[in-house]
Amino acid sequence: MQSAAAIEAVFRRERARVLATTIRVTNGDFDLAEEAVQDAFAAALARWPSEGTPDEPRGWLVSVARNKAIDVIRRRIKLREIVAAEPQTDQGSATALVAVPDDRLRLMYTCCHPALATEAQIALTLRTLGGLTTEEIARAFLTSPVTMAQRLVRAKSKIKEARIPYEVPEASQLPERTDAVMAVVYLIFNEGYAATAGDAWFRRDLCREAIRLGRLVAELTGDPEAHGLVALMLLHDARRDARTDDRGDLVLLEDQDRTRWDRTQIDEALAVVPIALRGGSGPYSLQAAIAALHASAARAGETDWPQIAALFDELVRRQPTPIVALNRAVAIAMSQGPEAGLALVEQLAGELADYHLWHAAKADLLRRLGRHREAATAYRAALARVGSEPERRFLERRLAEVLV
């Protein structure tokens, strides 16, 4: 006897894989595949409680979904000659189909195809691989369910009408396309992690979902950078509870109560970082290594800043963006003193003049050098550009400190 809750748990676990294989049967028609998978689930709810759970629930679900999809195709466009090649199996005795290929990887590459807009890639990935509802995705990204639904419809229709291939890209394109997949996963994570706007519960869920997707990419591609990405997300996420105080105000890394960090998650990440770095030190792996050094310091004062600065040197070589350079400058300030850091920060004035954290970093270094009047000017400049409320409150506190 199977309870509906237990069946639902099986379904949640297997949905992405079943869907991925069904999309292959429907030849890239996402809507038809989703419908068929939903039907298969309904069939499971109706039959498993009395007939018992099949030995291969995934195989059963795939087989039923596949037959439902083929039925619809048969009826819809009467492609009898194509369908005739597919032997029709009895929906009940689906156990014959045991080996279900893992099609989640091709689903991932299709959802993150560069011909789709980034927002569409994110929504589609969360909807199909993550299994979030359209309402949940809309809530997480602060848009209306109608807008989100339209975005998904348009993306699915482009896949179908422009015939975006449903396959793992060829070797020559693989690194670039895997980068796109990882970028989507990290965007999902940051959406859940960085902003404090919106529904807190969904934001946390979004981070979990990103980590789950990241694990999937790492597992299916074996790409060391994907392992690095997973470690990086685990390490950031481990600090979540210590990042804000009871009033929801921001707590800086150096002031965080490190006993509130999630040790289990940190330990898991620390084991992954060496594997990631062995793969050639890509940007995610390097960032994970930096986060690992922070996580390994029992007290802020014990942080290995020279090592962190060295990792930033490498990161800036691979990812020469002003934001990375700013972070490097801060690490150098910590290892060589605020003066050295300030000189590097000043060099970025042209590129980052509109970025509130550039002004905040500059203000912080001036404050530490005792140049309070200049620090106050920089804090005010940061405040004029800041977006989120907790960050604003933090900067106002700091401004008040230097004005004393």
Binding site: I77, H113, A115, E161, A162, R163, I164, P165, P169, Q173
Partner: protein, 117 residues
């Protein structure tokens, strides 16, 4: 599956291109066209006269109006097209990237609508 590859480029750049470069571009187009004919992807393709030869026709309130020039003033103008047969978008974009003008302007890849027979 058929795709229309629309070739956009700035006409001004084309008009002021030195002769040697123009000849080279023409030769590159010849090579490309022959290549996709040989590979079986080619269905049709033409270069268009510049936009100053264009006329736009529209009917509003039952009245036909004919005006000089293209429908929209854009930074890049439609200068030619290829109609190709490709198995999916990846193959189509790969072919589009081989069009000589891809290095100068941009190529819009549009799937051709198919109707269920």
């Amino acid at each position: 599956m058929q795709y229309l590859l629309l070739i956009y480029d700035t006409e001004k750049a084309g008009a002021t291109r030195p002769e040697a470069e123009r000849n080279k571009l023409f030769a590159d187009y010849m090579t490309f066209t022959n290549d996709i004919k040989a590979s079986g992807h080619f269905k049709a393709g033409d270069a268009l006269q510049p936009t100053h030869t264009a006329t736009t026709v529209r009917i509003r309130d039952g009245k036909t109006s004919t005006t000089d020039g293209p429908f929209a003033e854009t930074r890049e103008q439609l200068g030619g097209y290829y109609l190709i047969e490709a198995k999916d978008l990846d193959e189509a974009t790969k072919i589009a990237a081989r069009i000589p003008s891809a290095k100068l302007g941009s190529i819009e890849v549009r799937p051709v609508m198919t109707y269920p027979s």
